[in-house]
């Protein structure tokens, strides 16, 4: 598959932007500006980027509690996302949803979710809807290795398969569900994809820290969904570089060693892509610097936006319960 420079640039831009967004959120959380639960996507940027860049603008995604990367890669606005994390009226949900419920319906971002596996039904239903409306839209359903143990996953696999729905199940296997290791909670003599294969879905297992690999798997799945051939499954193997959420630092040493973490830091996707782009002379240092500068400006603007956006007035509480 030919990947042009423009696309590589975009990939780098998105990965780097997600990384920097998360670092900014982390920083603001420590300062108390970000409120509520915060699950960082650091280390997993290649997955959201590779998948979302394979989608059309009007395609849908469903996301998770660790969802900033998905939203940003699908074109979401860092200003409104950051404001949401900080509980401001300028946020995507006017501060009512926070990190775990950020959504941009106008961009097909059907929402993060606080329930592990909560997006399976929504994604599959959106695919049914797309098929019924003959819109040609495709749905990418992001979920974690932990979520793969929710029974709902298998229920929707069956329905997506029998009705040939245009949905792609993207399992982000980052090694952990909270503080329990993937290998402890999940059968491992078969990959997670075996579950999808049991329903006849084409499955792929890719290096989730390799954005190109993710992208290529996604493109194939999208094409087949768009062509009416039904659902696919992708497992992206990656690694969670931060804690489960901000504020659980006390747990850090309980579930992994420093050495393990350091080993994985060497493989982290943004730096790795950066090095590769330079090595392969696909982007120049100058181009990269320009992208990074653009990102810093965006994030600066986002912080300013947050600062200018007030916390909602208590009178808003009873709004938006019913449409």
């Amino acid at each position: 598959m030919e990947i042009d420079r423009q696309l590589l640039r975009e990939m780098y831009y998105h990965m780097r932007r997600i990384r920097r967004f998360e670092e900014t959120a982390e920083e603001l959380y420590k300062r108390g500006t970000v409120v509520g639960l915060l699950h960082l996507y650091i280390g997993e940027e290649a997955v959201a980027t590779g998948v979302c860049l394979a989608l059309r603008d009007d395609d849908y995604i469903t996301s998770t509690h660790r969802g900033h990367g998905h939203l940003l890669a699908k074109g979401g606005d860092p200003k409104r996302l950051l404001a949401e994390l900080c509980g401001r009226v300028g946020g995507y949900c006017r501060g009512k949803g926070g990190s775990m419920h950020a959504a941009d319906l106008s961009l097909g971002i059907l929402g993060a979710n606080g329930v592990v596996g909560g997006g399976f039904g929504i994604a599959t239903g959106a695919a049914l809807s797309a098929k019924m409306r003959r819109s040609g839209q495709v749905v990418a359903c992001f979920f974690g290795d932990g979520a793969a143990n929710q029974g709902l996953f298998m229920e929707v696999l069956n329905m997506a398969a029998i009705w040939k729905l245009p949905v792609i199940y993207v399992c982000e296997n980052n090694g952990f569900g909270q503080y329990t290791r993937y290998e402890e909670a999940t059968v491992t003599d078969q990959p997670i994809g075996a579950r999808a294969a049991a329903f006849g879905l084409p499955t792929a297992q890719v290096d989730g820290n390799d954005v190109i690999a993710v992208y290529q798997a996604a493109i194939q799945a999208v094409q087949s969904a768009r062509a009416g051939e039904g659902p696919s499954f992708i497992e992206a193997r990656t690694y969670r570089l931060r804690g489960h959420h901000m504020g659980d630092v006390g747990f850090a040493r309980r579930y992994r060693t420093k050495e393990e973490l350091e080993e994985h830091l060497k493989q982290e996707p943004v730096g790795r892509f950066h090095r590769w782009l330079l090595e392969q002379q696909l982007l120049t240092e100058a181009e990269i610097e320009e992208l990074e500068a653009r990102i810093e400006t965006e994030l600066q603007e986002a912080i300013e936006f947050v600062n200018s956006s007030p916390v909602p007035d208590v009178s808003e509480i009873m709004e938006h319960i019913y449409a």
Binding site: Y60, T62, G91, Y92, C93, R94, G95, K96, G97, H101, A103, D104, L105, S106, L110, G111, N113, G114, V115, G118, F120, G121, I122, A123, T124, G125, A126, A127, L128, S129, A130, M132, R133, G151, L152, E155, V156, N158, M159, I162, E319, H320, I321, Y322, A323
Partner: protein, 330 residues
């Protein structure tokens, strides 16, 4: 006056579904055996023939899955009407109903809309035992973001179902399986009934019965019996639990000063409690007697009919309870 004819609740529901599907191409149905089999209780009879397999979808036995898919479809431009056969099986889909459907509009700050209708069955009476006989409407009535409908007549069933389908919020619509063959007059033409408006099913001055779903018939029967003793009972059917038409309820209680609330859910922590609590607060000064209520006995519904029947409130109990309110004068 519109032309009327007498039809059953099953027929009324079927008409509502057919009319809304004809009117709006985004309305579709999903559930177990609703298509080729016509629905276990015939509510969807003929609809798959009329509207095709794409719009009347027979699902696998995956309640959580297809309810969740209903949410996703509703979020993206469709108006799904799904059927969860017995409301006992809502237990399998509560996350989708309560954490997803009910909250998405709010959690997204008003962006998302979930125009989803969940039709489901309630009530004992078929010897179907404890896992097929519950009336769990109190659960969903407890959840902000959901609307809850409980029709008691063919007229209400049709008008309310049409409104539920047109509503932009998730609505849980409870059908009583023993009332399906209840007959009543229904206009020939198009009409809807707004959600949130109670109906006074019988006018009376001495005591108010607030009755839901199949208990409306029980209340009407009890009212007839009491009439013979010179006690005039008013029967108020809230028709929807969320929104709840407090005004009509309070107005009646303020008029009569006496009230019995009757509902087929388990008595404890059930729907009768909320209505009683509202009255004990907001109509306190008008009450001439304790606030009484009848619900299903707090017991898993036994299979054998002689026990099963005894768990459901009946007209005799209601009469006795009502009478007890007149032994005293304040």
């Amino acid at each position: 006056m519109p032309e009327m004819r007498e039809i059953t609740i099953v027929e009324a529901l079927r008409e509502a579904l057919a009319e809304e599907m004809s009117r709006d191409p985004t309305v579709f149905l999903m559930g177990e055996d609703i298509g080729r089999a016509n629905g276990v209780f015939n509510v969807t009879a003929g609809l798959q023939d009329e509207f095709g397999k794409e719009r009347v979808i027979d699902t696998p036995i995956s309640e959580a899955g297809f309810t969740g898919m209903g949410v996703g479809a509703a979020l993206t431009g469709m108006r799904p009407v799904i059927e969860i056969l017995f409301c006992d099986f809502m237990t399998l889909a509560m996350d989708q109903i309560v954490n997803q459907a009910a909250k998405l509009h709010y959690m997204t700050g008003g962006q998302a809309k979930v125009p989803l209708v969940i039709r489901t069955l309630m009530g004992a009476g078929r010897g179907a035992a404890a896992q097929h006989s519950q009336s769990l409407h109190a659960w969903v009535a407890h959840i902000p973001g959901l609307k809850v409908v409980m029709p008691s007549t063919p007229y209400d069933a049709k008008g309310l179902l049409k409104s539920a389908i047109r509503d932009d919020n998730p609505v849980v619509f409870f059908e009583d399986k023993m009332s399906y063959q209840v007959k009543g007059l229904v206009p020939v033409g198009e009409y809807t009934i707004p959600l949130g408006v109670a109906d006074v099913k019988r006018v009376g001055g001495d005591v108010t019965f607030i009755a839901t779903s199949s208990m409306v018939q029980v209340a009407l029967a009890a009212a007839e019996m009491l009439a013979q003793e010179g006690i005039s009972a008013e029967v108020v059917d809230p028709r929807t639990l969320k929104p709840l038409d407090k005004e009509t309820i309070l107005e009646s209680v303020k008029k009569t000063g006496r009230v019995v609330i009757i509902d087929e859910g388990y008595l404890s922590y059930g729907v009768t409690a909320e209505i009683a609590a509202i009255i004990a607060d907001e109509a306190f000064d008008y009450l001439d007697a304790p606030v009484k209520r009848l619900g299903a006995m707090d017991v898993p519904v036994p299979m054998v009919p002689v026990l099963e029947q005894a768990t459901v409130p009946n007209a005799e109990q209601l009469v006795t309870t009502a009478r007890s309110l007149f032994g005293r004068r304040y």
